[in-house]
Amino acid sequence: MQSRILLLAVLLCVSVAAAAPVLTTQEMEEALTCQCGCGLTVHSCNHLQCGFAIPAKQEIARAVSEGKTREEILASFVARYGEKVLSAPTVSGFNLVAWITPFLAIVGGAVFISIVGLRWARRQPQAAAPPPVSSETARYRHRLQQDLESFDV
């Protein structure tokens, strides 16, 4: 039963992944920050008289229809407005620090917790050898353990 469910889960993932959309003008608009001061991406800026977002959207639509790549379009904007026009840091050079640091911190934290947790686990007092118990006591102990797990008291 459980293996069937697992198989179903895998099929679900594969079928959904296969339906992933392709690059659109929206993605390009979201990769650029509007320079009108709204603080939003070009895509989200809703100032309909916006002096930056409207021409930028037209330029992106034209560039995409001409078959330009994502990198080419972004490079043309960066050449005119500088790196601040990108809505996220590039994945190169010093900007890599921006992307990697949060994950390094999480992984470092996980390693730290694991090491400390193992040390805490070793701290447990070594229990003396338990006295021999009757089968009835063992049965009650097992029952108690089950109940504790059930009700979590």
Binding site: L12, E83, G117, W120, A121, Q124
Partner: protein, 666 residues
């Protein structure tokens, strides 16, 4: 009246100095009269700040435009409720309002504890009043709210039109209540560090304060989202703006604290970590204020660049140095009975939950300050916007959702494989079926489906917990189902209220996933009488109605909404022009349903040709964010309900620990 306000602030400043000095001197010399004098000074500062607030409100309501603040943030045509909201609409007023809330809280804390915590209270007084002194210093010497102009303008500049929205009347106060509420656990933590009374006493005493602060931060963030959704008109509610991030960070660390504190109470673990979280949460509230008022990071929320940044930064450094210095000094006494039986245990799940929450706070902090770092290191200005935060925080959020399901169900100490199978099999199946159901309903995005599946999984674990507990009561005590359920919750409101909060969080995740991954949007220009299709909706633009009063000129488009040929509603998206500010704004028309929001913005309108440009969004499941917020409110109220067991624990925590050999002597 404004002179009285200025005088009250000056007096409050002097009284705050007295409160700090008298409390510390009294505690050091063990002189109760000095300590009592410090407490009286707290009440006096409160009274002075109330007088100052009333004076500023009076100036606003009576339109005393000779006062610079009144002239800058109100006008004679501004409605009364927004005139009152102008109290926190500008820099000076918001600092006064912050001080007012702090003094309300300080007064309540002192009234609550007038016969309790005699060792801790002088230091609590000193800490709270040091914070108050900082804000009063700003108000007295740097940004006086009662400053007068050399002339009296005929009319005020009016409140920013974007702030003239009912959500803005409640969103900033809510956030401020959350921010300032974090001062109370911080003050008790510092007092515990100074006095060396490091038992659970301070934690149990401040639990409700921590929860209250967290509650208002949650509500403040949600209301901020609601305001952005209704007012900014871009179809979204969260833009990862630096100031939004500043409000999210303390919420994340406060959430981590509310979880890890349970481990300290249950297992006497993580004492140092809890101190760190309380200090970080408070420091992040000051950091948020620093960001808003320093101008170091550009944000749509920022107050005008005021030169207050260096003062906030200095105060922040002072807070961190003193707090972590004391923590370092007390480290040997904070050694806990840390013990972890297994990584398959609730303790371990909570540790990882803390890791993810603090990791999210760090990632948000990192993304917020990275532009400054880039400029320092490379001399190049960059932007860290939504794509960065979505890519970095998104996966962490999903991991957090998963842990929300695991944490409450997994057993303390050590979970056996048998118990894991029993606890998680049905929830996992439910999660999988939820994913399939949403896929069948047409929600075909991988990321979104993962979130929906996890939401199903978490909800199933919570429902199973309620069922298991209710059935156990029915079996043991022969109670009816409703009675067993009610007694289950009332006997342990903290635990079951927490589960209700988790349900709220899951609903918020569902709303975020639906509206983020399955949104439909369209922008088009149409003639009067023309119809257009967006998603399953047919929209018919029939006319534009114009209205005008002394304050606002408005043009509202009349848009009939049809589904499958049946008219279901009429929407009125509007463009407003605020005369005083000479500023146009958009008033969005929203048709919310549980399934999706239809969100229509009138972008522009050309009167001669009657051509109108509309932006239309269909935001699936978005209402569940606000419903989740309401559930979160309900859950928090349950967790704060009186709990006899907790009171007993507090009494026990206050009792001194038995000395070695005491039991034998007895």
């Amino acid at each position: 009246m404004t002179h009285l306000g200025s005088l009250a602030l000056s007096l409050a400043f002097l009284l705050a100095v007295h409160a700090i000095a008298a409390s510390l001197w009294g505690a050091w010399r063990r002189h109760p009269a000095w300590i009592q004098s410090g407490v009286h000074a707290v009440y006096a500062v409160f009274a002075c700040v109330v007088v100052a607030v009333i004076a500023l409100l009076h100036a606003l309501i009576t339109r005393d435009f000779n006062v610079e603040y009144v002239a800058a943030y109100s006008s004679s045509t501004l409605p009364l409720h927004y005139t009152i909201a102008a109290l926190w609409g500008g820099q000076k007023g918001s600092l006064l309002f912050w001080t007012f809330i702090l003094m309300v809280f300080a007064t309540i804390v002192h009234l609550q504890n007038r016969n309790r915590h005699r060792d801790l209270m002088p230091y609590v007084t000193a800490t709270l009043m040091t914070i108050a002194l900082f804000f009063l210093g700003l108000l007295c010497f740097l940004t006086p709210p009662f400053e007068r102009l050399t002339f009296t303008p005929q009319e005020g500049s009016d409140l920013n039109p974007l702030l003239q929205n009912y959500w803005m009347t409640v969103h900033p106060p809510s956030l401020y209540l959350g921010y300032v509420g974090a001062s109370v656990p911080f003050a008790f933590a510092l007092a515990a560090l100074v006095t060396g009374r490091l038992s659970d006493e301070w934690i149990r005493t401040t639990r409700r304060w921590a929860l209250t602060s967290w509650f208002f931060l949650s509500i403040g963030n949600l209301l901020g989202g609601r305001w952005a959704y209704e007012v900014l008109g871009w179809g979204g509610y969260w833009a990862w703006d630096p100031v939004e991030n500043a409000a999210l960070m303390p919420w994340l660390t406060a959430t981590a604290y509310l979880h890890s504190v349970m481990i300290q109470e249950k297992k006497n673990m993580l004492k140092v970590w809890n101190m760190v979280l309380v200090i970080l949460t408070f420091a992040l509230t000051i950091f948020g204020t620093f960001i808003t008022r320093s101008g170091v990071i550009s944000s749509v929320h920022s107050f005008t660049q005021s030169g207050l940044g260096p003062y906030f930064l200095t105060f922040l450094i002072f807070v961190l140095v003193v707090s972590f210095g004391l923590l370092f000094y007390r480290l040997p006494e904070l050694k806990s009975d840390n013990q972890l039986d297994s990584f398959l245990s609730r303790e371990a799940a909570f540790l990882f939950n803390n890791l993810v929450l603090v990791g999210l706070a760090f990632a948000t902090f990192w993304g917020t300050v990275f532009p400054i770092l880039s400029e320092w290191v490379r001399g190049v200005k960059i932007t860290v916007g939504p794509p960065f935060f979505n890519k970095v925080n998104g996966p962490l959020g999903v991991l957090l959702l998963f842990l929300t399901g695991v944490g409450p169900v997994i057993a303390w100490r050590r979970a056996s494989l048998h118990s894991l199978r029993r606890s998680f099999f049905l929830p996992l199946v439910t999660g999988l079926l939820t994913g399939i159901l949403f896929l069948a309903l047409g929600y075909g995005n991988y990321y979104g489906l993962v979130i929906f599946s996890l939401a199903g999984f978490v909800l199933a674990t919570i429902v199973a917990e309620f069922l298991r507990g209710t059935r156990a009561r029915q079996a043991m005590l022969h109670e009816s189902l409703p009675r067993a359920f009610a007694r289950l919750v009332s006997k342990n409101p903290r635990r079951y209220g927490g589960y209700v909060v988790h349900i709220g969080v899951v609903l918020i995740f569902i709303g975020i996933a639906g509206s983020s991954f399955f949104k439909i949007e369209k922008q088009l220009t149409v003639n009067k009488g023309e119809q257009f299709q967006v998603g399953r909706y047919t929209l018919h633009y029939t006319e534009v109605k114009s209205t005008e009063d002394a304050h606002i000129a408005s043009q509202a488009a009349v848009v009939d909404v049809y589904v499958n040929g049946h008219k279901i509603d009429t929407l009125y998206p509007e463009k407003r022009f605020y005369k005083r500010q000479n500023q146009p704004t958009t008033e969005v028309a929203i048709r919310p349903t549980l399934r999706e929001d239809l969100y229509v913005v009138l972008g522009s309108y050309d009167a001669p040709s009657q051509l109108a440009t509309f932006q239309v969004f269909v935001n699936p499941l978005l209402s569940w964010i606000w419903i989740g917020g309401l559930v979160l409110v309900l859950g928090t109220c349950i967790t704060m309900a009186p709990n006899p067991a907790e009171r007993r624990a507090l009494v026990l925590a206050r009792m001194p620990a038995p000395r070695t050999g005491e039991a034998v002597a007895e």
